[in-house]
């Protein structure tokens, strides 16, 4: 490592000698942030994410699981990846226990991915809860947990995200400040605004290039 350390020292020495630290910089505040009421935030997030081809459903917080079952039947998922230790995990398990007719087989993400990678790439849908929403840009925010790991929202062609309407913030800036992100960041934090997409060939917009082809968002009110 010694050669790397000396590269480090040489680079830092040049940066210190550059005179940059003696400059003065005036601050310029960004434009005023958005401020919406609860309904307007839900509406804006739903509209923007729908425009990005997200399949948005605003549901009652008690009946979201019924809507999930309807969607599962309607879309014909064969296997659904879920996190058994997550709060929505137990609700899904209970709902699936009573009646599985036509419903996708539940696949629990339990062990480390190394034991399960091949199978993971075969599963057609994954469901996760999300931490929050951002109204200004239209996005959901994930801090993947050991119960709902990172690849659940990436590898399966369908990602179902479950968002609580009360956790929608006006903006990313507001969320970072209120939740005090600066005090400690998780392994991975994600903003997702729609299904995976590309426009690399003649600007023709195509959804589902490497990540999910479909993003289903259930907003629980």
């Amino acid at each position: 490592m010694s050669s790397h350390n000396s590269a480090r020292d040489r680079i830092l020495a040049r940066l210190h000698a550059s005179g940059t630290e003696q400059t003065t910089v005036s601050e310029a505040p960004p434009p005023p942030a958005l401020s919406l009421d609860r309904e307007a935030k839900i509406e804006r997030l739903a509209a923007l994410m729908t425009a990005m081809r997200t399949d948005v459903h605003i549901v009652d917080s008690n009946s979201w699981i019924d809507r999930l079952k309807e969607l599962a039947l309607e879309k014909g998922w064969k296997r659904l990846l879920y996190g058994p230790g997550a709060p929505i995990g137990s609700v899904i398990e209970t709902a699936w226990a009573s009646d599985t007719e036509g419903l996708p087989e539940l696949v629990a993400y339990i062990g480390p991915v190394e034991n399960f990678k091949e199978d993971l790439f075969q599963i057609d849908a994954g469901i996760t809860s999300v931490r929050a929403g951002v109204a200004e840009t239209g996005a959901v925010v994930l801090w993947p947990t050991p119960n709902e790991p990172r690849l659940m929202s990436l590898v399966p062609p369908v990602h179902v995200a479950v968002l609580d309407a009360d956790t929608i913030y006006n903006s990313l800036a507001e969320m970072m400040a209120v939740e005090r992100w600066a005090d400690g960041m998780p392994t991975n934090a994600l903003l997702i605004s729609g299904p995976s997409k590309t426009a690399d060939i003649e600007f023709t917009l195509v959804f589902g290039v490497h990540g999910p082809k479909e993003l289903v968002l259930l907003i629980r009110k």
Partner: protein
């Protein structure tokens, strides 16, 4: 590929201008990008305020650059990310190679990274028997065709779908010819998913590195960046040292400027923030995360108060889209990794004026790049400065290879010009002479070259001084 000691810019430009297909593809694409940016920033006052904020944030980061890099290193290390420093691209390549060897990895899956292009990493790894797999759709297309990116955001924009169809059909086994963009995308997905699942090491760039928390932030639409940084056991991120910013609260304005300027998006599909490798209780994500911080001439740029501004750049590519030269010749003609206006100021500073200074001549100084730059880099001023340094008449130049254009003939001409404008007698003589022979100037040498694509100057028969005298204008 690694060295550009000689490249024939004029030849490249002539070739590009004669390529009708290329020009059509580019014109269409750039018009779309310009329109999309305009649509996402409809309020000019708002945009101006946002640009000023972006400029201030990046200036503040540059002011504290050494301290922020040390803080980033300390916080990344605390989080479990291994930090490496590289003086030049060769050192950076060696660091990546070491990691590949340590993990016995025969291949690396790559998310889009301009710094890795700057390193010519693919070529370097190839020579070491390691396969680098580009996974961004645009990068994948051009890699199949053994090309380099022609645009820093949309690397395959010089290709139309027919050309992509032919490339896929020729280069990917058992692939029927199709011009359907959905099908072409599906083919890439099928091929690359296998590579993601099998890869031991993934590589990415970095859009912003946040010193406050030791966080690497990446934006993308496709999900290949997330794949490269989440599926393999090892993630290697490479960044230029100017990518560090002070704090998380600096992120939202910069993010808005970046996605809006780059592709006219309010937000990309994914904003991926990585702060550590997999923790013991976590089930996926890389077990090792490495960050390679590259200098490659950047610390030298920082030493000059004017050139320092080159390091404000957030690599959105909007200066390319708005450049009348780029739109006509495309990225490859520039012969270097960074094309367009930003390349014209960045490349000569990295490679030396004697080797790449000609790039600074490819500008009409129309000013569009400076007007649209989200962090307000005065690109035209820097182009002008580089042109002056190419001659270095007063010996004050700071860029390597400066004064490469200085020659006796031109120095004499300018000395004469200076003299003629200082001494009234000479001035009088000069203007009279010009009035007499101006129309019959022989079109040879540089004058012939100059007038080949430009109207030759029309010299008035009498000078302004003479006219004023003749017409008895008072208060001259």
């Amino acid at each position: 590929m690694g060295n550009h000691t000689r490249f024939d810019f004029e030849h490249n430009v002539t070739g590009a201008l004669a390529d009708d297909q290329l020009r059509k593809n580019l014109r269409n694409a750039m018009d779309i990008l310009v329109d999309k940016r305009r649509a996402v920033f409809p309020d000019s006052e708002y945009l101006e305020q946002l640009r000023s904020a972006g400029n201030a944030i990046k200036r503040r980061a540059l002011k504290q650059l050494p301290r922020l890099l040390e803080q980033l290193e300390a916080n990344c290390t605390k989080n479990g990310i291994q930090v490496h420093w590289a003086e030049d691209t060769n050192e950076a390549n060696r660091i990546v190679l070491d990691i590949m060897h340590r993990h016995d990895a025969p291949a690396i899956v790559k998310g889009k990274s301009m710094v890795s292009e700057e390193m010519h990493l693919n070529h370097f790894l190839d020579e070491q028997g390691i396969e680098a797999v580009e996974t961004d759709l645009g990068e994948f297309i051009i890699q199949l065709n053994h090309e380099t990116p022609s645009h820093i955001i949309v690397p395959a924009i010089h290709k139309n779908k027919d050309e992509v169809a032919a490339i896929f059909h020729d280069k990917i086994p058992d692939t029927p010819y199709t011009e359907d963009v959905e099908e072409l995308t599906a083919i890439a997905r099928r091929v690359l998913r296998k590579r993601f699942a099998a890869a031991k090491v993934g590589l990415s760039g970095v859009n912003f590195a946040i010193a406050e928390t030791g966080t690497l932030l990446l934006v993308e639409n496709e999900g290949n960046g997330r794949m490269c940084t989440t599926v393999p056991e090892v993630h290697v991120a490479v960044m230029g040292l100017e990518k560090v910013i002070e704090k998380l609260s600096d992120v939202p304005p910069l993010l808005q400027l970046l996605t809006g300027s780059a592709t006219g998006q309010v937000i990309t599909t994914y904003v991926n923030m990585i702060s550590s490798p997999r923790k013991s209780e976590e089930k996926d994500g890389p077990k090792e995360v490495h960050l390679v911080i590259l200098d490659n001439g950047r610390s030298r740029m920082l030493a000059d108060p004017e050139f320092r501004q080159t390091l404000l750049c957030i690599r959105c590519g909007t200066c390319l889209n708005h450049c009348p030269v780029y739109v006509r010749i495309g990225g490859h003609a520039y012969g270097h990794v960074y094309p367009g206006p930003i390349g014209k100021i960045l490349t000569p500073q990295m490679e030396g004026l004697d080797r790449a200074g000609v790039l600074a001549t490819a500008s009409s100084l129309c000013g569009a790049c400076g007007e649209v730059c989200p962090v307000k880099i005065p690109i035209p001023d820097l182009i002008r400065r580089l042109r002056n340094e190419s001659y270095d008449q007063d010996g004050s130049a700071v860029v390597a290879g400066s004064g490469y254009k200085k020659n006796v003939a031109e120095t004499l001409v300018w000395k004469g010009w200076e003299l003629a404008n200082r001494l009234p007698v000479l001035n009088e003589m000069g203007t009279r002479l010009a009035g007499k022979v101006g129309k019959r100037m022989p079109k040879v040498g540089p004058l012939k070259k100059w007038t080949r694509v430009r109207t030759s100057p029309k010299v008035a028969r009498t000078s302004l001084h003479e006219r004023a005298r003749n017409e008895r204008v008072k208060d001259e």
